[in-house]
């Protein structure tokens, strides 16, 4: 390189100390009543989580349709229709971030409904926080999302640790009734994500608090979107586990359960966390392939045949011709809670709507009947789970807690020999 090249290079280096900055645009104080309220959103409509993303889309779109059916959200006596601006983030963090940036800063959406899966929500929520726009998601359950002190991020999914704890409570009942051995040998297999870590913590906390009843014999993690789980399953088999407590997302659940079945494994209790009742799983694994799988979910249509639940299920079936699962319900409730907060604020002013979301307590289809975003949980909803079990007759009744149960669970798995 000659001197002129070096000169330009040094000039570039000197310039690096010089970077313009810009005051944050303050467009949040917008109290005028608009002609429409634009909600931005991205979901994984293609990519690994496309099936789940499609379900959340159904939930969001139904909520918008219901809200617009009587003219829209009431802002100071004027009904303002809602428009959903939904883009495909392809289950890609960078795209989810860039599209959120586009929707917020270029398309100037008023509010944001979040995407699905913990890692993508975790990346995207930073954009909402930086741009100070209310962000409600139904797809991020990990507590790490809500432990950052963010003020603009709200989550409808209750913590995954609660999920594991609720399942363990049912297992504990079966053990007390003599249906399961004491101490029971527990294998914990968790996806190496915040989601999986929360699940593992839930099981560990419960077994530690009931140490005479449980012995953890395997504690293994796996990477998301795995293709081969045979090594982990071999360890579980070698450890002679009675309870196989797994946390997995839908694609990994289907892959792992297929390998579990093909290796002729059978544990007295088997769970994949929230997975097991999905129609995709029955299609992929066959009805027998999902028998006796235990699952704990954030919502189930059997929760009630009256009030808000009936209204939601009827409207969903009328629009889509099928029963909703918890994914659609959580999307629906995330959108509905945002609409409720906007109506309570009576304005599209972002700060006022954020304050209403923080203070929100509304009737809900979720277990417990109420939805709020408590500040001490970082804006993450906190409510009990319902435990289901797939039975050979093709049903998946709620088996726990007793006050909402409509069926009786089976333990140990009768298909296991010896």
């Amino acid at each position: 390189m000659n001197r002129s090249t070096v000169f330009v290079g040094v000039t570039v280096l000197l310039l690096t100390g010089c970077v313009p900055s810009k005051d944050t645009d303050d467009d949040s104080a917008n109290t005028a009543i608009p002609d429409k309220i634009v909600i931005g959103s991205t979901l994984p409509l293609t990519g690994t989580e496309s099936k789940t993303g499609g379900r959340f889309k159904q939930g969001y779109e139904l909520a918008v349709e219901v809200e617009n059916a009587d003219g829209g959200i009431d802002l100071g006596g004027k009904k303002v229709p809602v428009q959903l601006n939904l883009l495909d983030d392809t289950t890609d963090q960078a795209k989810a971030v860039n599209l959120a940036q586009r929707l917020i800063t270029q398309d100037k959406v008023n509010f944001f409904l979040g995407t699905y899966s913990t890692a993508v929500v975790e990346a995207q929520s930073t954009v909402a926080e930086q741009n100070q726009i209310p962000y409600v998601n139904g797809g991020g359950a990990a507590t790490s999302i809500y432990a950052k002190g963010f003020k603009w991020v709200f989550g409808t999914l209750a913590p995954v640790a609660n999920l594991a704890n609720t399942e363990m409570q049912w297992i504990d009942q079966q053990q007390a009734a003599g249906a399961l051995p004491k101490p029971a040998r527990v294998a914990i297999v968790w996806e190496n994500t915040s989601h999986g870590k929360d699940f593992r913590k839930g099981v560990q906390d419960f077994t530690a608090a009931h140490s005479s009843g449980y012995q953890v014999v395997t504690d293994e993690s796996f990477a998301l979107d795995g293709k081969d789980f045979s090594a982990i399953l071999s360890k579980v088999r070698g450890a002679k586990a009675d309870l196989l407590m797994i946390d997995a997302h839908l694609p990994d659940f289907i892959t792992m359960q297929r390998q579990y079945l093909s290796s002729a494994m059978c544990t007295k209790v088997l769970t994949y966390g929230a997975r097991g009742t999905e129609s995709d799983a029955r299609t992929a694994l066959g009805a027998e392939g999902v028998n006796y799988i235990l699952s704990a979910v954030w919502w189930n249509k059997q929760l009630g045949n009256a009030g808000l639940n009936k209204e939601f299920v009827d409207k969903f079936k009328a629009k889509y011709g099928t029963d909703p699962e918890w994914y659609q319900a959580l999307g629906y409730e995330a959108a509905r809670s945002l609409f409720t907060a906007i109506a309570q604020a009576g304005t599209v002013d972002k700060e006022q709507v954020r304050a209403k979301l923080s203070a929100l307590t509304m009737d809900s289809i979720l277990p417990g009947g109420k939805l709020s975003y408590p500040a001490d949980k970082g804006g993450q909803a906190d409510y009990p789970f319902v435990v289901q079990q797939n039975l050979p007759d093709g049903t998946s009744p709620i088996i726990y807690p007793a006050d909402v149960a409509n069926g009786k669970g089976v333990a140990p798995n009768p298909a296991c020999k010896g």
Binding site: V12, L13, D88, Q106, N192, D225
Partner: protein, 315 residues
């Protein structure tokens, strides 16, 4: 193009891009995406130093991108050093990591080297995914919003990265090392007979390439404010760098810059405006470019230039 003309054009382009956001009504989204594209341009140029100049096609550059990003993120989280220092240290770590696997594998040529780099990239991704103490595992690492440059400011940092990468590309191509690299690309044994040390030259280029890609990883960590191994070390990222170079013109000084424009900006545009058709449209565009113009957009520009200004023949 003569050296003086190139440097003048470079300085003018740099100055124009530096001033553009201050005088043109560019929206925040466009501003941010252009800043991110500058970074991808720099990373694609860095890939081209090895893949284009030496002809060693690497499918493992995501490993250096990830190492640079995570080292920079860890430094920012734990030491309080300025982000620019963290990026630089992340880049150096990535360059050294590149040498660690590159020194032995660069003795392989052609498809053998490429296959080895696939293994390196995937192995690094798996190690990073399970090394939770350092990378946070699949949960990743969140960077604090305070103390990090804003996306607005990252436009200029991206521009500086690009400027540095263009200068190195140009300098390498015109230097003695560049001639040596061309010789190695044509025939490594003949180059050795002529006094070129293939091992040393390739190590130097891989170190430079890894360092620049690692710095880009640090930039990306600051841009996203959240990184995880699945994203940082993904095979798609390595493929992306290759595609940028191929689309723009592999082995040319500025080709990867044009390739990055197509790869990032057009992809973003299609995704935002035709989200249901974007994969088909984007795939068709790539096929057309690769099928009809093997030298990529650079070849297309050269062809158009020849058509517009016919070569003057000596009379």
């Amino acid at each position: 193009m003569s050296r003086v003309r190139f440097l003048l054009a470079f300085a003018a382009a740099l100055a124009a891009l530096w001033v553009a956001p201050l005088v043109l009504p560019i929206g925040d989204y466009t501003h941010n995406i252009v800043g991110l594209t500058f970074m991808f341009m720099a990373a694609a140029l860095a890939w081209n130093w090895l893949g284009g100049y030496v002809g060693q096609i690497s499918f493992g550059h995501a490993a250096m991108f990830g190492v640079g990003g995570f080292v920079a993120a860890r430094i920012m989280l734990s030491s309080g050093l300025p982000f620019s220092v963290a990026w630089l240290l992340g880049g150096l770590a990535a360059g050294l990591f590149g040498l660690l696997w590159g020194h032995p594998t660069l003795r392989l040529r052609g498809p053998y080297f490429s296959i080895a780099t696939i293994g390196v990239g995937e192995a690094t991704r798996l190690v990073a995914t399970y090394w939770s103490d350092f990378t946070g595992g699949s949960s990743g690492l969140s960077l604090p919003l305070a103390g990090n440059p804003t996306k607005y400011q990252l436009y200029w940092y991206g521009l500086y990265l690009l400027g540095g990468a263009v200068l190195i590309s140009y300098g390498l191509a015109r230097s003695r090392i560049g001639l040596g690299l061309s010789a190695i690309k044509e025939d490594v044994e003949a180059a050795g007979d002529l006094g070129v040390n293939p091992t040393l030259y390739q190590d130097i280029v891989l170190f430079l390439s890894g360092t620049m890609v690692g710095v880009c990883g640090g930039f990306y960590a600051s841009y996203q404010a959240f990184i995880d191994p699945q994203d940082m070390f993904s095979f798609d990222r390595s493929i992306g760098l290759i595609l940028m170079a191929v689309i723009g013109g592999i082995g040319t000084v500025l080709g990867p810059v044009w390739g990055a424009i197509v790869f990032v900006i057009i992809q973003e545009f299609l995704l935002a405006n035709y989200s249901e058709l974007y994969l088909g449209l984007y795939g068709a565009l790539l096929i057309l470019i690769i099928l009809f113009e093997p030298l990529g957009l650079t070849g297309l520009v050269r062809r158009l230039h020849r058509l517009a200004i016919p070569v003057r023949r000596a009379t």
